[in-house]
Symmetry: C2
């Protein structure tokens, strides 16, 4: 896990450093890209390639692309007009350091150049590149992450049903997590069936990830998660525990983890690092 | 000109309408996409194909892509943290109608789905698609439009030199205008030399476009240009007339128009609609 994280963190700045662009913009893009985090999405790309017996290094460009999309979404989500957050992973948010206008542009730039990361990979076919780009558009655009964020905003202050809550999470976080696995499978030249199975696996761990997030908000350790515990309750947000009770949410978490593991078994990948990752997501403390 | 505009305006909404996405987000994206404007960038794609003797319809997807990028940039530029504009083409700006958070997302969504427009074109090769996408990334990202916008912000309130001013304009508006022509040439399967010549032609009309903009700000008709005349001067902005005098700016405009026409002559395209467009840009009243 840690060696993959280091590999990705060594590669990420290279996507920006060599750009011929105003220094202030590059600095703002790099600030958020280098701000740490779990690097879960890039690690999933590499772990998926490993599970299929391929060279993990093949996944670095797509790993950078998905992390750039994730980073842009954090910068825009933190803006005063969105979640208005001053801190992210214990550091001042992008707009606090560079101003709101530059933060908007840094997000736009990271979004745009995520596609460049895929385009510059020489070791794959044109068809693979196009597939990777199309999946990334779908995962991050109006039918994916941006759509989930819009639905989340629309639902603010309303009591959501379980299916409305799931719509938000499948789109806001699930699709991009799933992209990582689908990208790994595409790069591994997996069959269409295997790509579909990986997509289903991704949906289960995506929801498990979010349910764990909701549980941590009521039971987590503030220092470990890096934000105040109980903020969802204080903000009147609909969460899995608020709809299902804490016990019900934990049962749902377990059922998604089991379904995810069953998918891996079906693909005969239950001895892979993806299996361990599934547990890590279910049990994470931050 | 008008028939091409209509063709593009019929096609544009189709890029959004069929998306499986929250209605509020689609509405916000469509609002700005359907808000009119000269549609200069899409028209340049079609006119370039025509100049090379190709079917203009081949250019519709790239035409939509470039207009989606242009539209996203207007939405983000109008935000309170950027130019804080309430009106655009006589209509309330996106954030005035849908709120700032949705406007940020609508911009993000249009940027992301611009690539989808290119991906969904079936009549071109994978290599052409990748080239169109790579050129669009370069024209719109940190090395292009977003970089120009960042440089513009950095230069605010400062006295710029002519070369600093040109850097801003070449990147902020020039690169995307040039993209339209390069995209047309790629779709027309023009030679690399022809693509390069088209790029140079684009740089000249891009600068001519901007100089004309600056001249209109001091001499234009407020009703025709749709914004108060003299706002650059009032805001202390460095412009071509402020650096070169109005006469000097007009001379520079003429020199770019002549260089653009010379490029067309070199390509033996001086009888094409691109030639008329060059004059239209130089003489436009709005």
């Amino acid at each position: 896990m840690n060696s993959r994280k280091k590999q990705v963190e060594a590669e990420l700045p290279r996507c920006i450093e060599n750009l011929h662009a105003p220094e202030a913009l590059k600095e703002s893009m790099l600030y958020s890209l280098n701000a740490g985090g779990k690097r879960l999405r890039p690690i999933l790309v590499l772990a998926c390639l490993k599970a299929f017996g391929k060279d993990e290094a093949l996944g670095l460009p797509a790993a950078c692309a998905v992390e750039m999309i994730h980073t842009y979404s954090l910068i825009h989500d933190d803006l005063p007009c969105m979640d208005d957050d001053d801190l992210r992973r214990g550091k001042p948010t992008n707009h606090k350091v560079f101003g709101e206008a530059m933060a908007v542009l840094a997000g736009d730039g990271l979004l745009t150049h995520s596609f460049q990361a895929i385009l510059s990979q020489n070791s794959i076919t044109a068809e693979q590149k196009l597939l990777l780009i199309e999946e990334l558009v779908n995962a991050s655009g109006a039918e994916g992450m941006a759509g989930g964020q819009a639905a989340d905003m629309e639902g603010e202050g309303k009591d959501l049903t379980l299916s409305e809550l799931e719509y938000i999470h499948i789109h806001k976080t699930g699709k991009l997590l799933t992209y990582s696995l689908v990208a790994g499978a595409i790069l591994a030249e997996a069959s269409e069936d295997a790509i579909d199975s990986m997509r289903e696996f991704g949906q289960h761990i995506g929801l498990a990830f979010q349910i764990r997030d909701d549980i941590l908000d009521i039971e987590g350790n503030q220092e470990k998660i890096g934000k105040p515990v109980g903020s969802d309750t204080a903000n009147g947000k609909t969460t899995y525990p608020s709809l299902l009770t804490a016990e019900g949410a934990k049962d749902k978490l377990v059922s998604h983890i089991e379904a995810a593991k069953a998918k891996l078994q079906e693909m005969q990948l239950s001895h892979s690092f993806l299996y361990d990752l599934t547990d890590l997501i279910a049990l994470r403390e931050s």
